[in-house]
Protein backbone atom coordinates (compact mmCIF):
# COMPACT_ATOMS: atom_id res chain seq x y z
CA UNK A 1 0.00 0.00 0.00
CA UNK A 2 2.82 2.36 0.99
CA UNK A 3 4.69 1.54 -2.24
CA UNK A 4 1.54 2.23 -4.25
CA UNK A 5 1.08 5.65 -2.60
CA UNK A 6 4.74 6.51 -3.19
CA UNK A 7 4.44 5.69 -6.92
CA UNK A 8 1.28 7.76 -7.15
CA UNK A 9 3.04 10.70 -5.47
CA UNK A 10 5.92 10.49 -7.93
CA UNK A 11 3.50 10.47 -10.88
CA UNK A 12 1.57 13.49 -9.52
CA UNK A 13 4.79 15.44 -8.87
CA UNK A 14 6.01 14.54 -12.37
CA UNK A 15 2.79 15.75 -13.98
CA UNK A 16 2.87 19.00 -11.97
CA UNK A 17 6.50 19.57 -12.94
CA UNK A 18 5.74 18.99 -16.62
CA UNK A 19 2.81 21.41 -16.43
CA UNK A 20 4.99 24.06 -14.79
CA UNK A 21 7.70 23.71 -17.47
CA UNK A 22 5.07 23.81 -20.22
CA UNK A 23 3.30 26.89 -18.85
CA UNK A 24 6.37 28.92 -17.88
CA UNK A 25 7.53 31.10 -20.79
CA UNK A 26 10.97 30.26 -22.05
CA UNK A 27 13.55 32.78 -20.92
CA UNK A 28 14.89 34.85 -23.79
CA UNK A 29 18.62 35.35 -23.66
CA UNK A 30 19.95 38.78 -24.48
CA UNK A 31 21.85 37.62 -27.54
CA UNK A 32 18.53 36.53 -29.10
CA UNK A 33 17.10 40.05 -28.96
CA UNK A 34 16.96 42.16 -32.09
CA UNK A 35 19.79 44.74 -32.36
CA UNK A 36 17.24 47.52 -32.86
CA UNK A 37 15.64 46.70 -29.51
CA UNK A 38 19.07 46.78 -27.84
CA UNK A 39 19.77 50.16 -29.42
CA UNK A 40 16.58 51.80 -28.20
CA UNK A 41 15.76 49.94 -24.97
CA UNK A 42 17.14 52.75 -22.75
CA UNK A 43 16.08 55.66 -24.98
CA UNK A 44 13.59 57.81 -23.02
CA UNK A 45 11.83 58.91 -26.24
CA UNK A 46 11.13 55.35 -27.34
CA UNK A 47 9.12 52.63 -25.64
CA UNK A 48 10.92 49.45 -26.67
CA UNK A 49 9.43 46.03 -26.09
CA UNK A 50 10.00 42.41 -26.97
CA UNK A 51 6.97 40.16 -27.20
CA UNK A 52 7.43 36.40 -27.18
CA UNK A 53 4.68 34.46 -28.95
CA UNK A 54 2.61 37.47 -29.99
CA UNK A 55 -0.78 36.32 -31.29
CA UNK A 56 -2.01 38.00 -34.48
CA UNK A 57 -5.54 37.64 -35.84
CA UNK A 58 -5.94 34.45 -33.78
CA UNK A 59 -3.96 32.54 -36.39
CA UNK A 60 -0.28 33.42 -36.09
CA UNK A 61 2.04 33.20 -33.10
CA UNK A 62 5.22 35.11 -33.64
CA UNK A 63 8.05 36.86 -31.78
CA UNK A 64 8.10 40.61 -32.28
CA UNK A 65 10.07 43.68 -31.31
CA UNK A 66 8.00 46.82 -30.94
CA UNK A 67 9.32 50.36 -30.76
CA UNK A 68 6.92 53.22 -30.14
CA UNK A 69 8.20 56.76 -30.54
CA UNK A 70 6.92 59.59 -28.37
CA UNK A 71 6.73 61.99 -31.30
CA UNK A 72 6.90 62.09 -35.07
CA UNK A 73 10.49 63.42 -35.12
CA UNK A 74 11.76 60.44 -33.10
CA UNK A 75 9.75 58.05 -35.28
CA UNK A 76 11.42 59.47 -38.41
CA UNK A 77 14.83 59.30 -36.65
CA UNK A 78 14.35 55.56 -36.17
CA UNK A 79 13.34 55.13 -39.82
CA UNK A 80 16.31 57.18 -40.94
CA UNK A 81 18.59 54.93 -38.88
CA UNK A 82 17.17 51.80 -40.47
CA UNK A 83 17.53 53.44 -43.91
CA UNK A 84 13.90 53.46 -45.01
CA UNK A 85 13.55 54.70 -48.59
CA UNK A 86 11.57 57.76 -49.79
CA UNK A 87 11.43 59.31 -46.32
CA UNK A 88 10.99 62.87 -47.61
CA UNK A 89 7.77 62.09 -49.44
CA UNK A 90 6.58 60.17 -46.39
CA UNK A 91 7.37 63.18 -44.17
CA UNK A 92 5.29 65.33 -46.47
CA UNK A 93 2.36 62.93 -46.30
CA UNK A 94 2.49 62.91 -42.50
CA UNK A 95 2.61 66.74 -42.54
CA UNK A 96 -0.49 66.67 -44.73
CA UNK A 97 -2.27 64.72 -42.02
CA UNK A 98 -2.05 61.27 -43.60
CA UNK A 99 -1.08 58.15 -41.65
CA UNK A 100 1.04 56.03 -43.94
CA UNK A 101 2.47 52.63 -43.08
CA UNK A 102 5.72 51.34 -44.53
CA UNK A 103 6.45 47.64 -44.93
CA UNK A 104 9.49 45.72 -46.06
CA UNK A 105 11.44 42.59 -45.29
CA UNK A 106 15.03 42.16 -44.23
CA UNK A 107 17.36 39.28 -43.43
CA UNK A 108 17.13 38.16 -39.79
CA UNK A 109 18.58 40.68 -37.32
CA UNK A 110 19.99 42.82 -40.13
CA UNK A 111 17.50 45.65 -40.45
CA UNK A 112 19.58 47.92 -42.66
CA UNK A 113 19.94 45.31 -45.35
CA UNK A 114 17.30 44.56 -47.97
CA UNK A 115 19.37 41.93 -49.75
CA UNK A 116 19.18 38.16 -49.43
CA UNK A 117 15.83 38.38 -47.68
CA UNK A 118 14.37 35.91 -50.14
CA UNK A 119 14.14 33.11 -47.61
CA UNK A 120 11.24 31.77 -45.61
CA UNK A 121 12.85 32.96 -42.39
CA UNK A 122 13.18 36.74 -42.40
CA UNK A 123 12.16 39.84 -40.49
CA UNK A 124 9.07 41.72 -41.64
CA UNK A 125 9.28 45.38 -40.63
CA UNK A 126 6.16 47.54 -40.36
CA UNK A 127 6.54 51.25 -39.60
CA UNK A 128 3.17 52.80 -38.85
CA UNK A 129 2.33 56.49 -38.54
CA UNK A 130 -0.96 55.46 -36.96
CA UNK A 131 0.74 54.86 -33.59
CA UNK A 132 4.31 56.01 -34.45
CA UNK A 133 5.55 52.45 -34.14
CA UNK A 134 8.20 50.31 -35.74
CA UNK A 135 7.48 46.58 -35.40
CA UNK A 136 9.83 43.81 -36.43
CA UNK A 137 8.21 40.40 -36.83
CA UNK A 138 10.33 37.28 -36.73
CA UNK A 139 8.71 35.50 -39.69
CA UNK A 140 9.31 31.80 -40.24
CA UNK A 141 7.09 31.15 -43.26
CA UNK A 142 5.57 33.12 -46.13
CA UNK A 143 1.99 32.64 -44.96
CA UNK A 144 2.72 34.71 -41.84
CA UNK A 145 3.64 37.73 -43.98
CA UNK A 146 0.17 38.00 -45.47
CA UNK A 147 -1.59 37.70 -42.11
CA UNK A 148 0.61 40.38 -40.53
CA UNK A 149 0.16 42.71 -43.53
CA UNK A 150 -3.60 42.18 -43.40
CA UNK A 151 -3.60 43.03 -39.67
CA UNK A 152 -1.66 46.24 -40.42
CA UNK A 153 -4.25 47.17 -43.08
CA UNK A 154 -7.05 46.53 -40.61
CA UNK A 155 -5.40 48.79 -38.05
CA UNK A 156 -4.93 51.47 -40.70
CA UNK A 157 -8.56 51.26 -41.80
CA UNK A 158 -9.99 51.26 -38.29
CA UNK A 159 -7.94 54.12 -36.92
CA UNK A 160 -8.34 56.47 -39.86
Amino acid sequence: MRRYLFSLLIVVVGVLLALWVWQTPRRVVRSELHPLFLRYEHNPDVAAGFVKNLRIADTVTIDAVTLQAKDTATWFDIMEYIQVKSLNSMRQRVKDGETPIKMFKTPKNNIKSRKDADTKEHDLVICSAVDLSVCIYDVVNDEQDKIIINAAFEKLQNLN
Binding site: K85, K115, D118, K146, I149, F153
Partner: protein, 132 residues
Protein backbone atom coordinates in the same frame (compact mmCIF):
# COMPACT_ATOMS: atom_id res chain seq x y z
CA UNK B 1 -47.90 1.46 -95.23
CA UNK B 2 -45.66 0.47 -92.33
CA UNK B 3 -42.62 1.60 -94.30
CA UNK B 4 -44.21 4.99 -94.93
CA UNK B 5 -45.06 5.39 -91.26
CA UNK B 6 -41.48 4.50 -90.27
CA UNK B 7 -40.12 7.05 -92.75
CA UNK B 8 -42.50 9.74 -91.44
CA UNK B 9 -41.54 8.95 -87.84
CA UNK B 10 -37.85 9.11 -88.70
CA UNK B 11 -38.26 12.43 -90.46
CA UNK B 12 -40.24 13.78 -87.52
CA UNK B 13 -37.53 12.66 -85.10
CA UNK B 14 -34.82 14.28 -87.20
CA UNK B 15 -36.91 17.44 -87.48
CA UNK B 16 -37.50 17.59 -83.71
CA UNK B 17 -33.82 17.03 -83.06
CA UNK B 18 -32.91 19.80 -85.46
CA UNK B 19 -35.41 22.21 -83.86
CA UNK B 20 -34.13 21.23 -80.40
CA UNK B 21 -30.57 21.94 -81.39
CA UNK B 22 -31.60 25.21 -82.97
CA UNK B 23 -33.42 26.23 -79.78
CA UNK B 24 -30.34 25.33 -77.74
CA UNK B 25 -28.29 27.64 -79.90
CA UNK B 26 -30.82 30.43 -79.63
CA UNK B 27 -30.79 30.21 -75.82
CA UNK B 28 -27.30 31.72 -75.74
CA UNK B 29 -27.18 35.51 -75.54
CA UNK B 30 -26.60 37.18 -78.83
CA UNK B 31 -23.22 38.56 -77.74
CA UNK B 32 -19.52 37.89 -78.10
CA UNK B 33 -19.25 37.28 -74.35
CA UNK B 34 -19.47 33.70 -73.13
CA UNK B 35 -20.87 32.86 -69.70
CA UNK B 36 -18.64 33.95 -66.78
CA UNK B 37 -16.73 36.52 -68.83
CA UNK B 38 -16.41 40.21 -68.12
CA UNK B 39 -15.17 43.20 -70.00
CA UNK B 40 -11.76 44.34 -68.78
CA UNK B 41 -10.23 47.65 -69.82
CA UNK B 42 -6.59 48.53 -69.42
CA UNK B 43 -3.95 50.76 -70.94
CA UNK B 44 -0.24 50.29 -71.60
CA UNK B 45 1.70 53.51 -72.15
CA UNK B 46 -1.54 55.35 -72.87
CA UNK B 47 -2.90 52.84 -75.40
CA UNK B 48 -6.28 51.64 -74.17
CA UNK B 49 -7.50 48.09 -74.80
CA UNK B 50 -10.64 46.22 -73.82
CA UNK B 51 -10.82 42.46 -73.58
CA UNK B 52 -13.43 39.88 -72.71
CA UNK B 53 -11.94 37.72 -69.94
CA UNK B 54 -12.91 35.12 -67.38
CA UNK B 55 -12.03 35.63 -63.70
CA UNK B 56 -8.95 33.42 -64.18
CA UNK B 57 -7.94 35.27 -67.31
CA UNK B 58 -8.40 38.55 -65.48
CA UNK B 59 -5.98 37.48 -62.75
CA UNK B 60 -3.43 36.38 -65.36
CA UNK B 61 -3.84 39.66 -67.22
CA UNK B 62 -3.41 41.68 -64.02
CA UNK B 63 -0.22 39.75 -63.17
CA UNK B 64 1.04 40.45 -66.69
CA UNK B 65 0.25 44.17 -66.24
CA UNK B 66 2.09 44.16 -62.90
CA UNK B 67 5.12 42.64 -64.61
CA UNK B 68 4.98 45.33 -67.29
CA UNK B 69 4.63 48.00 -64.59
CA UNK B 70 7.73 46.67 -62.85
CA UNK B 71 9.62 46.90 -66.14
CA UNK B 72 8.81 50.60 -66.36
CA UNK B 73 5.70 50.60 -68.56
CA UNK B 74 2.94 53.02 -67.56
CA UNK B 75 0.02 50.78 -66.88
CA UNK B 76 -3.51 51.52 -65.71
CA UNK B 77 -6.47 49.26 -65.40
CA UNK B 78 -9.95 49.54 -64.08
CA UNK B 79 -11.96 46.98 -62.28
CA UNK B 80 -13.03 47.31 -58.66
CA UNK B 81 -11.73 50.88 -58.71
CA UNK B 82 -8.16 49.91 -59.36
CA UNK B 83 -5.26 51.56 -61.11
CA UNK B 84 -1.53 50.96 -61.44
CA UNK B 85 1.12 53.50 -62.34
CA UNK B 86 4.79 52.78 -62.66
CA UNK B 87 8.03 54.68 -63.09
CA UNK B 88 11.30 52.71 -63.23
CA UNK B 89 11.70 51.80 -59.56
CA UNK B 90 8.38 53.06 -58.20
CA UNK B 91 5.09 51.28 -58.70
CA UNK B 92 1.84 52.76 -57.45
CA UNK B 93 -1.28 50.71 -56.97
CA UNK B 94 -4.67 52.02 -55.86
CA UNK B 95 -7.67 49.89 -55.07
CA UNK B 96 -10.76 49.75 -52.93
CA UNK B 97 -10.37 45.97 -52.60
CA UNK B 98 -8.47 45.30 -49.37
CA UNK B 99 -7.61 41.67 -50.08
CA UNK B 100 -6.23 42.68 -53.50
CA UNK B 101 -4.14 45.41 -51.86
CA UNK B 102 -2.81 42.98 -49.23
CA UNK B 103 -1.94 40.41 -51.91
CA UNK B 104 -0.21 43.07 -53.99
CA UNK B 105 1.80 44.38 -51.03
CA UNK B 106 2.78 40.83 -50.07
CA UNK B 107 3.98 40.17 -53.62
CA UNK B 108 5.92 43.43 -53.87
CA UNK B 109 7.54 42.98 -50.42
CA UNK B 110 8.61 39.49 -51.46
CA UNK B 111 10.06 40.98 -54.64
CA UNK B 112 12.29 43.21 -52.48
CA UNK B 113 10.30 46.44 -52.59
CA UNK B 114 9.52 48.71 -49.66
CA UNK B 115 5.79 49.38 -49.74
CA UNK B 116 4.06 52.44 -48.33
CA UNK B 117 0.29 52.33 -47.83
CA UNK B 118 -2.19 55.11 -47.15
CA UNK B 119 -5.93 54.79 -46.79
CA UNK B 120 -8.42 57.40 -47.96
CA UNK B 121 -11.41 56.92 -45.70
CA UNK B 122 -13.71 59.18 -47.74
CA UNK B 123 -13.16 57.27 -50.97
CA UNK B 124 -12.40 53.91 -49.31
CA UNK B 125 -9.27 53.53 -51.42
CA UNK B 126 -5.88 52.10 -50.47
CA UNK B 127 -2.92 53.66 -52.24
CA UNK B 128 0.20 51.52 -52.20
CA UNK B 129 3.57 52.85 -53.38
CA UNK B 130 6.35 50.30 -53.86
CA UNK B 131 9.93 51.58 -54.02
CA UNK B 132 13.10 49.65 -54.85
Amino acid sequence: MRKTLRTVALCAAIGLLAVGCQKEVLQYPVSDMAEGQNMFSYSINGETKTECVTEEGRTELINYLFDLAEQGYRVTFNGRNTSVFSAKDVVTYSTSDRSAAVAWCDKMINDGYEVEVTYDRDKGIYTCIATK
